[in-house]
Assembly symmetry: C2
Homo-oligomer: 377 residues x 2
């Protein structure tokens, strides 16, 4: 009896009422019902973003939202600091370079998080830096960055702090207003339990002021047009209507739970998963791991790709593997979105059984036991 379990850091499983909402007859994007829908989801997103700022949305992947945070804020030749600790930090850098923005990179060893002091030193050396582009959870390594500390550096300077919270929003804490983060970008298919196709951004007044002076070309990803339309429950271009209906259902769940509880739940799931991995004697890949996902360094004798294939074929389990130079070397288990303790037990139990199956000597049951003990604490 085949049954699939998805433990990838996006797309994440969709709650059934959200799935069924998408199967309803589609509505016109200019109808009164859709206007109300857009206003409702944009209001509820403020709760998730922990902000009083308005949130805007685009019909795109998270990367479209990231490009928007470059094209809308900057001008050609502007200088920015980009924290690169994996594939997604590098993406900030690639986008900036594509748009003729000068990048001062801070390269962090994969698995590590940036030292805020390094950022502070660079900002002092280069007072003309327009923005720092950072990542809340570097999904490719599972490392969490100390955004609160970075915001402490930028909010006392004219420099903006732009945070890719694509994978971590709703899982790792990001107090946009309390910490003074200027721009937060995220998307639908991670902590928000909605299929991929929607990107979000929240900007504070400092960021909106910067947009006044930006001369980089933008049209489809124009933040101001998306924001101004959104205030009216409207859109500049036909939006992904079915995804908005699913998002509304998902946001209802998060708002009912309360974002602080949602983050606490993810913390509980992450702690249990890490306890389990340690009990199995395997090393965590991230030094400061996020709540979003747990990255595990595989023993060199294990072929990571073959292991993932076995997990899918025999156990119906999809974990994520490593990307680029980490391919085959790490396994990433997401505990993200529509997940609770039982899901984590399945993820860990199957992980143990898979390792045993390929002949790796682990104490069967030790991971599940450690997770249960963590839940009991």
């Amino acid at each position: 009896m085949k049954k699939k379990w998805l433990f990838t850091p996006g797309p994440t499983p969709i709650p059934p009422e959200a799935s069924l909402a998408m199967a309803q007859p589609i509505d016109y994007h200019r109808s009164a019902d859709t206007v109300a829908l857009i206003k409702d989801v944009l209001e509820k997103l403020k709760h998730v973003f922990q902000t009083e700022n308005d949130v805007l949305f685009l019909t795109s992947s998270g990367t479209g939202g990231m490009e928007g945070a470059v094209a809308n804020l900057l001008s050609r030749g502007d200088k920015v600091v980009v924290i690169r600790s994996g594939k997604f930090g590098e993406r900030w850098s690639e986008i900036c370079t594509a748009f003729g923005v000068e990048v001062i990179p801070i390269d962090v060893t994969y698995g590590n998080s940036v030292d805020p002091q390094t950022v502070g030193r660079l900002l002092t050396e280069h007072p003309d830096v327009k923005a720092v582009y950072a990542t809340l959870c570097e999904t490719s390594t599972g490392a969490l960055h100390d955004i609160e500390a970075l915001a402490g550096l930028t909010r006392v300077r004219p420099t903006l702090l732009v945070v890719d919270a694509v994978s971590a929003l709703g899982a790792d804490d990001l107090q946009m207003d309390n910490w003074g983060v200027d721009v937060v970008v995220s998307c639908s298919q991670k902590g928000l339990m909605t299929p991929p196709g929607l990107a979000f951004a929240a900007l504070n007044q400092r960021a909106w002021n910067a947009i006044e002076h930006s001369d980089l070309p933008k049209y489809y990803l124009d933040y101001r047009k998306a924001y101004e339309s959104g205030l009216e429950g409207s859109v500049p271009y036909t939006p992904a209507v079915t995804l908005l209906t699913a998002l509304q259902c998902a946001l209802d769940r998060i708002c009912a739970e309360g974002i602080r509880n949602t983050i606490a739940r993810h913390s509980r799931l992450a702690t249990a998963t890490r306890s389990a991995v340690k009990a199995l004697g395997l090393p965590l890949f991230a030094v400061s791991p996020a709540n979003t996902l747990t990255s595990i360094r595989l023993p060199t004798e294990i072929d990571g790709k073959a292991f993932l294939k076995l997990m899918l074929d025999k156990y119906g389990i999809t974990y994520a593997g490593g990307q680029s130079q980490l391919s085959g070397k790490i396994v990433r288990i997401a505990h993200l979105g529509w997940m609770n303790e039982n899901d984590v037990i399945v993820a860990i139990s199957a992980f143990e059984r898979g390792l045993a199956e390929i002949g790796y000597d682990i104490p069967l049951g030790a991971g599940v036991t450690a997770a249960q003990e963590a839940f009991a604490r």
Copy 2:
């Protein structure tokens, strides 16, 4: 007993198997199943585009695909001809201007189609024009443009022909290869009977050659990355997976019908609708109307917005109104996508009843009769 009917030129109704496919548990976008899905839809799209060229897709509205056709093909300061006969031709112009491209506009009276001779004259005057940006069906007016004639002008010159077939693909004929069109852009929520959120582009070798020389900034909407990934059934960024599953179902319907038959069906529905409108004594707004939708100029004594509200509230019918300066002045009835004769009869019958209801003197039943006679021919 409430029942809704959607006659808007996008989103269009979704076939039930496509709706239900979206409600299935979501899959990882790097899974073998999704790789096969992407390869399958890209292959089937070639049939709809009537081309041997590969088709690429983006997770965006149609406008994202249009921006791609500017940002990927051109360089700063390039000169292009843009045919502007409504909101969507004007969009080409706005995108070009946003990217620093010089626009030579051809302004066509709303409701009219461009005279190919005007385009030919301009191309002779300006031999350095890099591309002509045209629209197959100008959705804001319902006018069809003679793309075959335009292609006759560009294919003997180094100038590219880029066609916005966003609303008309699958409804109005566009023989990309036979006519020699260089770039065709479309999207999911019109003739392709899929919810909004996917854009498509097909490019011939001339267009790919032009991409080599383009220096406009692009990242998220990079055609080459989308194309090269697509060949492997992959994507540069997380795609709208649920929309791809719906698209596959919709494409199966079109491929089973055969694109020539699909277009013939739309022609039949459009002819019947136009016959009905004439029989009711109302003027068509477009001089050369498209198969995609029928635009009707309302008598000045009718308040178009109040009429549309009545139609929705009392009859559950959504037509589209006019946009910008045509607001309240025209009604647009789409016969697009998952539509057959019975749908058109509903659209016309309700239109008659609504007009009578607001006290406009029309011969009740004349429209439906004319449509039935058209079907019988």
